[in-house]
């Protein structure tokens, strides 16, 4: 069972490390994911995984706030001046281990507390040298210690040096028994009390030592303070005392004795039941680990959802933007039908049409001479016919507007996005070259063949099929076309005769344009049922094309960092974290029973 658990824990740690390195390049997101996980990751790294490697000795760690005299207590326990005792605060910045020769050798071999680099303590001052790598662990030999006890000195947990906190947290995870050094000033400090509360929660045995206590009235004040402290932490325990007039600097052979029965601390530590404590610490640690990691996994889910939501929001904006695109070629459709019907003209009607056109041209030539100014104005204000180029221009403008609007929305969202999303999208959104992106989208959508050409091809097929199927409507259309063919010439001719040319040009031009529009309208109406079927798939195709183009050139570049950040959340790392966590929970149940 232990073996299984060990493997699950080791794999969990591996997956965790993968997750960490996957998010390494994104400090904001990493902070969001891993903040608050320091405690249990330390438990995992410093206790759970190495414990299973098989170690059978207690680690007693001397811990507490700044300048409470941790190093003093440490030295008193070993009866040697190993750790430097300094007047200024936050001095100790590296943990120091005292062990007998055999254990010290093991420590130096890196077996006991992995992650820290063990170095034999040669120079006392190194312990307070903050320039040395803070993963360094100093090892000193004290042969008076038995095989099953190691004593550690640690940095403080509450000074302004956050690095010291980190080391202290890791050491707390590594320790089995915590010798809590408190003083009359520091027994109620929030940070200190929290530190020990966490330790108790993960099954560590706590041994409070009241330093600098006033011996008056049989340490009454100190006793009450320790009691208060134990209350705050939530346990009962034997507690020890060091009077404030202890001339500690000079004599390290004095002993630290218990309030209750005067028993010596060192003797107490040596007499502890190693396997029982080890088991308790281990079981509690696993339990706490299982609890806190399950909330971590939930937190991971939350972060994932948060990121996913943003990605989804962008994608749905992308999709709805493409739906705004209405690629119907507008007036062109009607004109197309008209042209189609004209192309179906027989020889007679073609002749009539040609004559009519010639008459219009002739009459208007006469008219033009007389009323050149009027004609000019008419031409200016008449709707110019939509040419191929202007249709293309229409599409280009529509797509440009859609793409620009989408980019604008992205910019607005990214400016207001909260962290950690902002750190992932803001830079890419802001560096998006909107003009280039819009050009690329247009290139994608309107490239290859001209849009109206494709449309026309499609239309030809549809119209031919319709023409064959609808004989009745066909006749109506042909009759209408004939009228339309003759009408301009008739009007122009009549007006020309009546006004000797004056005004004919204008009227003929106007009637041709009006006739074409009217004809186109009728055709559209006649083709009404076919129109919908005819346009919708083509329209959809165009929208899909636009959607893909917007995605490639705008959404994707804006989101690429977000997508990269999402990968570890959606890949197998999280999956393996989850499955190993399940294994741990199962195995943990069996350990407790």
């Amino acid at each position: 069972m232990q073996n299984e658990l060990g493997q699950a824990l080791a794999s969990f740690e591996l997956a965790l490390q993968q997750m960490r390195s996957a998010l390494e390049t994104r400090p904001v997101l990493s902070e969001r994911v891993f903040s608050g996980t320091e405690e249990w990751t330390a438990l995992l790294t410093y206790k759970l995984v190495p414990h299973l490697a098989g170690e059978g000795c207690l680690i007693g760690a001397v811990t507490g706030g700044t300048n409470t005299g941790k190093s003093t207590v440490f030295n008193l326990l070993t009866h040697q001046k190993i750790s430097p005792m300094v007047n200024t605060a936050a001095a100790t910045c590296h943990p120091v281990i005292a062990a007998n020769a055999k254990r010290a050798a093991e420590c130096l071999g890196g077996k006991l507390i992995p992650e820290f680099t063990p170095v034999p303590l040669e120079n006392e001052a190194d312990v307070i040298n903050s320039d040395i790598d803070f993963k360094t662990l100093f090892v000193a030999v004290d042969d008076t210690l038995p095989d099953h006890l190691i004593i550690m000195d640690t940095p403080d947990v509450d000074s302004i040096d956050k690095r010291n906190w980190e080391v202290a947290d890791n050491i707390r995870a590594a320790g089995d028994v915590l010798i809590a050094v408190i003083t009359g000033e520091k027994y109620k400090d929030d940070r200190v009390v929290q530190y020990f509360r966490h330790a108790v929660d993960s099954g560590r045995q706590l041994v409070p030592v009241m330093n600098k206590a006033n011996p008056a009235d049989n340490f009454q004040v100190g006793r009450n303070q320790v009691e208060d402290f134990l209350n705050d932490v939530g346990i009962e325990a034997m507690s020890y005392v060091i009077p404030h007039d202890f001339s500690t600097g000079e004599d390290l052979n004095q002993s630290i004795v218990s309030f209750q029965d005067g028993k010596e601390l060192r003797a107490h530590l040596e007499s502890l039941d190693v396997p029982a404590i080890k088991h308790q610490v281990f079981a509690q640690t696993v339990k706490r680990f299982a609890e806190t990691t399950s909330s971590f996994l939930n937190h991971l889910d939350e972060v994932h959802t948060e990121l996913r939501d943003v990605a989804d929001q962008f994608e749905s904006l992308n999709a709805s933007a493409s739906l705004e695109y209405d690629p119907a070629p507008g007036k062109e459709v009607g004109g197309l039908f008209h042209a189609f019907v004209q192309s179906k003209r027989g020889a007679i009607r073609r002749g009539i049409g040609a004559t009519s056109a010639a008459i219009v041209r002739g009459v208007s030539a006469i008219g033009r001479g007389i009323v050149s100014g009027v004609k000019k104005r008419t031409q200016m204000e008449a709707q110019s016919e939509e040419t191929e180029a202007s249709v293309l221009e229409f599409h280009r403008a529509a797509i440009t507007r859609i793409a620009q609007h989408l980019s604008r929305t992205y910019i607005e969202i990214s400016r207001n996005a909260p962290e950690p999303v902002a750190s992932l999208i803001r830079k890419s959104v802001e560096s998006l070259d909107v003009d280039a992106a819009v050009d690329a989208v247009i290139e994608d959508c309107l490239s290859a063949e001209s849009i109206s050409e494709e449309f026309r091809e499609h239309a030809d097929v549809m119209l031919n099929a319709w023409w064959e199927d609808h004989k009745g409507k066909r006749l109506t259309l042909e009759a209408l076309d004939t009228i339309l063919a003759i009408m301009p010439a008739a009007i122009a001719g009549t007006t020309g005769l009546l006004t000797s040319g004056f005004g004919a040009g204008e009227l003929a031009l106007a009637s041709t344009a009006a006739g074409a529009t009217f004809g186109a309208k009728v055709m559209e109406y006649q083709f009404g049922d076919a129109l919908f079927d005819f346009l919708s798939p083509w329209k959809k195709d165009q929208q899909v094309l636009l959607k893909a183009a917007l995605d490639t050139h705008i959404t994707e570049p804006c989101l690429h960092e977000l997508y990269e950040a999402l990968e570890p959340f959606e890949g197998e790392i999280v999956e393996s974290l989850r499955s190993h966590h399940r294994q741990c929970v199962v195995s943990q149940g069996s350990i407790e029973s």
């Binding site: 409470t68 509450d158 520091k186 929030d190 007389i370």
Partner: protein
């Protein structure tokens, strides 16, 4: 100095109420509002009372220090933590104070200008204490950071003070001085490292002093720096010094406020430049397009100009040839006028309106709307392009439906102005030239002279008794007609070329009028100008502060 401070605050206040479309400043405004209120409150407070807060971890002896200063047991002291739970305010009689938290006020301080506050601890598990300390810190002017060897580096206290860096003067008080060595060097070094600049450092043993004061004995060497601390409070902190401290606090806060504001607003600076360029470019493009439409629609239609010039000339013409020209002009413009009478006429059309503007002195100033599909298309395109630039620079993008109309109307106004003004002036001037007396006389001389000579010849022959042949009359009449026609053609050509030149020059005028003028997006441009002005103002504030 107060005056200048007030001016600065008024400026900041104004900025904090910014409600334009620059979102960055609007967001900053809320924070700024807070800061301004705080600074104002500091300004309003009695100028000569200094509020000193004793701040530190539990058990360092803040209450003992206060007691020692007062020489009386004002604040409860104890060996159990935490001891003080509500702040004790020790103030001179008559001072009115409000710290927005529960306080225990003790009057009777002999330190005339000082209010000393003993705060609860900053570091125990009682979270409420920490909050109460924060509140007191908001109101105080001078912080006495109290600590002993155990607590001088505690994060709990430091974290409270860090946000107030440069905003409050700090004095360090090392309590519980004993034979043990002082931590002064280390403490001061760490403070400097973290960016604090403590003013004074006192090392005291307040308990001993307090006991001594109670027993009424003289001070001794065991009290360390306590006498100096007392001297500092009693005499060094005089009005001038107090004012100096307050001023330095205020300017520290002000500097921080303006500094953070500057950082926030300068983040958009790059995009501002792009936006400005974009606006300029878009404006130029729109002006160009508008000009093209105007040129195409109005200025290329020569008949409008011929018509107007003809009309002006007919009113003024003199002489025989002039009258003939007038008659011809009436006939020539008949079709155009006929068009106006017809029911299909485009009398409300743009050309008609333009012609009216050109040819009537008292033409009504109706709007000339040069609406066109291409122009609208172009405008919408530019509007969307601008939207991106605006969003990048942090402006709110407002879909203003009026903006196209206003653009078109502005364009119309320019064109109308030209037509009504300089173009019409040109037409009139040219008409005057054509119908001037010298020209009329010049034109009239040949036909009249010819007529006179011919008539003289006829009369002379008649008295000589000779009757001229009919052919002579026909011949002379033809010559006269040829002369008249030639002159009319000449006059008409002159009028045409005049109309042409008036048209060309007016196009130039229109180009000049449109170029360099704001055609569209006035709102956006104003917002940008306003934002730029705000940035300059902030820079100026920063400069003022530097000089101060």
């Amino acid at each position: 100095m107060t005056y200048r401070m007030n001016t600065l605050l008024d400026k900041l206040d104004e900025l904090s109420h910014y409600s334009g479309s620059w979102l960055t400043l609007r967001q900053e405004g809320k924070r700024l509002n807070h800061r301004v209120a705080e600074l104002r409150e500091r300004e309003d407070r009695l100028d000569d009372v200094l509020i000193i807060a004793l701040v530190g971890g539990s058990g360092v002896g803040k209450s003992t220090l206060l007691n020692a200063l007062a020489g009386d047991e004002l604040a409860k002291t104890s060996e159990y933590r935490p001891c003080t739970s509500i702040p004790t305010v020790y103030h001179p009689p008559g001072a009115r104070l409000d710290f927005s938290t529960d306080t225990h006020n003790v009057s009777g301080s002999a330190l005339e200008h000082l209010v000393v506050i003993d705060t609860p601890d900053s570091d125990t598990i009682e979270k409420a204490h920490r909050e109460s300390v924060s509140k007191i810190l908001q109101h105080c002017d001078l912080i006495m950071m109290c600590a002993d060897a155990e607590k001088y580096l505690d994060e709990a206290t430091w974290s409270l003070l860090r946000p107030l860096q440069q905003e409050r003067s700090i004095v360090c008080v090392e309590t519980k001085a004993s034979v043990a060595p002082t931590v002064k060097e280390h403490w001061l070094a760490r403070l400097t490292e973290e960016g604090f600049s403590p003013g004074q450092y006192f090392r005291v043993n307040s308990l001993r002093t307090f006991d001594r004061k109670l027993s009424g004995a003289q001070s001794d060497a065991e009290e360390y720096d306590f006498p100096q601390l007392e001297t500092y409070l009693q005499s060094e902190l005089d009005r001038d010094q107090i004012r100096r401290i307050k001023r330095s606090n205020a300017s520290g806060l002000l500097a921080k406020t303006i500094g953070s504001l500057q950082t926030a607003v300068n983040e958009d600076a790059v995009h501002f430049e792009q936006l400005r360029e974009g606006l300029q470019r878009i404006d130029a493009e729109l002006a160009q397009a508008g000009l093209a439409v105007a040129e195409q629609r109005l200025f290329s239609e020569s008949h409008l100009w011929n018509y107007a010039l003809g009309k002006e000339t007919s009113v003024r013409t003199k002489g025989v040839v002039g009258t003939l020209y007038k008659v011809l002009e009436v006939v020539r413009t008949l079709p155009a006028r006929m068009m106006q009478w017809s029911p299909w006429s485009m009398s409300s059309g743009i050309g008609q309106r333009a012609a009216t503007l050109l040819s009537k002195d008292d033409a009504p100033a109706t709007a000339l709307t040069l609406d066109s599909a291409e122009l609208k298309q172009l405008f919408l395109q530019k509007e969307s392009e601008l939207g991106v630039l605006l969003a990048k620079a942090g402006f709110e993008v407002q879909g203003n439906t009026q903006s196209y109309d206003s653009y078109i109307n502005t364009l119309g106004d320019y064109v109308g102005e030209i037509l009504r003004g300089s173009a019409r002036e040109r037409i009139v001037r040219r008409a005057q030239l054509i119908s001037s007396w010298p020209l009329a006389v010049l034109l009239d001389i040949p036909p009249i002279a010819f007529f006179g000579i011919t008539a003289y010849g006829v009369v002379k022959e008649y008295f000589a008794g000779v009757f001229l042949e009919w052919s002579f009359f026909i011949h002379s009449g033809s010559v006269l007609a040829i002369i008249l026609v030639a002159e009319l053609v000449l006059l008409s050509l002159l009028a045409r070329s005049m109309a042409w030149s008036a048209r060309r020059s007016s196009i130039g005028d229109l180009k000049k009028a449109i170029r360099g003028h704001r055609m569209a997006f006035v709102y956006e441009r104003n917002a940008l100008d306003e934002a730029n002005a705000v940035r300059d103002e902030i820079d100026a504030l920063q400069q003022v502060l530097k000089d101060y």
